[in-house]
């Protein structure tokens, strides 16, 4: 079926997960992502899957750990405060090298914050969140189609590298409806010889564990994990470049902020301002090369975010501070308007650092 259907972003994630072979979902309701759980509750029993509303976020992430250890595709979803609760489990998944998909449909924070869209969990997602040295693959969809395609991609990458992939979305992309085509889903299959599936007395025990009391062994595991991370940074970066060829200014934005920025960039282009967009699709691995290359020909970067500028330092690091990076933002559940972004672009064009 190649027909496009209108779906909410949250529903697209849920349907794509099922198409990707996920048959285990554990969650706890929280706005603005509850449609994911509702969709799973409706669908999973009909296809022999398991939907379970856990007693808490902490319980849900540990159920994910269990299924991941058994080698099955598994996911959980939540919104910002709920992800904080899951963070201990995220660290354990990393320490045990288990693949899982975790969705964060962000809302304003800190604390209970609000229920309107936000991107203020950027640090939490890209720098770890839980304790210990670890990374997650972080995917930032900016359309409902990408909510679906990156969910499938997330499962594949998680299996390929034995780690957690996170969909870092926001309330707007979760709640909005757009046409989506789910017929293009191609699912990769990865063998999981490490999974705890019963030995049938025919092989050695597999052990899934994050406790290593011998420091030499723990160090070895950390080093090995970061070797894998290096491979991911080499091979798995996803980025969209928009009107960058002749750009003298570069907007950097992901998710909903990138959508708003495109409107502003189109307006600025009409006024003759040479501005383009670099949209990280993977926030980790971060598109360092694209940014560094852009620093050769743009005079300024403008980071458009729904937070206090968490991505700014990643842009500065990626570009080795060769060019100034300014911030155009709204927080607390507010979204910058195209007019606000356009004003920041015009200010930068005049030479001032907005």
């Amino acid at each position: 079926m190649s027909e496009k259907v209108l779906m909410k972003g949250n529903e697209a994630i849920a349907e794509a997960a099922i198409l990707a072979g996920c048959r285990h979902y554990f969650g706890y309701p929280i706005t603005p992502q509850t449609e994911i759980a509702a969709y799973m509750a409706k669908k999973m029993p009909k296809i022999g899957g398991c939907f379970l509303q856990a007693e808490s976020e902490i319980a849900a992430i540990n159920m994910v750990y269990g299924v991941a250890g058994a080698g099955k595709r598994v996911m959980t979803s939540s919104s910002s405060p709920g992800i904080s609760l899951k963070s201990e489990g995220l660290s354990y998944l990393a320490g045990s090298d288990l693949p899982a998909l975790v969705v964060n449909v962000q809302r304003g924070g800190p604390g209970l914050g609000g229920i309107q869209p936000s991107q203020s969990d950027y640090f939490q997602a890209t720098k770890g969140g839980g304790h210990g040295d670890y990374k997650m693959i972080v995917l930032a969809p900016s359309s409902v189609q990408e909510m679906a395609s990156l969910t499938v991609k997330g499962f594949d990458l998680a299996d390929k590298y034995r780690m957690t992939a996170m969909i870092l979305a926001d309330g707007t992309t979760g709640q909005m409806m757009e046409p989506v085509n789910l017929s293009e889903v191609e699912v990769q299959h990865y063998d999981k010889p490490w999974a705890v599936t019963g030995t049938k007395m025919q092989r050695e025990h597999n052990i899934v564990n994050s406790l290593f009391l011998e420091p030499e062994e723990l160090e070895k595991n950390n080093f090995a994990r970061f070797e894998r991370y290096k491979t991911i940074e080499e091979n798995e970066v996803m980025v969209e470049e928009y009107l960058m060829d002749d750009a003298e200014l570069c907007v950097v934005a992901f998710g909903i902020a990138a959508r708003v920025s495109k409107n502003a960039i189109n307006e600025a282009r009409k006024k003759g301002i040479k501005v383009g967009l670099i949209r990280p699709i993977t926030l980790w691995p971060f598109p360092k090369k694209a940014l560094l290359a852009a620093a050769e020909h743009v005079k300024q970067f403008i980071s458009v975010e729904l937070n206090m500028g968490q991505m700014v330092e990643d842009i500065e690091l990626a570009t080795r501070c060769k060019r100034p990076v300014t911030l155009c933002n709204r927080v607390g559940g507010m979204i910058p308007s195209p007019a606000q972004v356009l004003a920041a672009i015009e200010e930068a064009d005049k030479g001032g650092q907005a």
Partner: protein, 178 residues
């Protein structure tokens, strides 16, 4: 042409449903569309609104900040968004519920007593679709085509018996002359 539509009213007036209808109609007509609801505390008993974009180019931001078309189903919504409408834009007002007049003179305004028309026709909950009918009539890039197919996509299967009254409501609005 990108038609940026904002539909606003109280929770329960069918604001989101009306928006879904427009978005699905656009999809059937091979247009680029997006639909974004307000999902805040307002949907739990206050004002509700929804942004719908229908056009020929890819949709950038799905948030309608400056509508070409505003459908106001209560006074707070009219007051809140009247000045956001682009000059030359269109404002549809449910004049059964809103006694006030639009104060601007650089926009086109249609006063439709939608709630009263709906009540008189025996489908009192379909003022929203009467306004959608008028919107189809007054928007240059829209028509009455594909309305039934679009309705079939948005009315849940178990409520498909309401297809006819929804069509009637759309027609009532489409044919209404002030």
């Amino acid at each position: 042409m990108m038609n940026q539509i904002l539909i606003a009213g109280f929770g329960g007036q069918g604001v989101l449903f009306a928006g879904k209808f427009l978005a699905n109609k656009g999809l059937i007509e091979d247009k680029q569309v997006s639909w974004l609801p307000s999902y805040g505390p307002e949907m739990r008993g206050g004002t509700a609104n929804c942004s719908v974009i229908v056009g020929d180019e890819p949709v950038g931001s799905p948030i309608v900040n400056e509508p070409n078309t505003l459908v106001a189903m209560n006074l707070p919504s009219l007051k809140k968004y009247e000045n956001a409408v682009v000059p030359g834009g269109l404002i549809l007002v449910d004049s059964s519920l809103i006694a006030a007049k639009v104060e601007r003179d650089d926009v086109r305004v249609c006063y439709v007593p939608a709630t009263e028309l709906a009540k008189n026709a025996g489908f009192s909950t379909l003022a929203n679709m009467i306004l959608m009918g008028k919107l189809l009539k007054e928007s240059e890039d829209m028509s009455f085509e594909n309305t039934e197919d679009a309705l079939k996509k948005v009315i849940p299967a178990r409520k498909m018996n309401l297809l006819d009254v929804n069509l009637q409501a759309l027609k009532t609005g489409y044919e209404y002359a002030e």
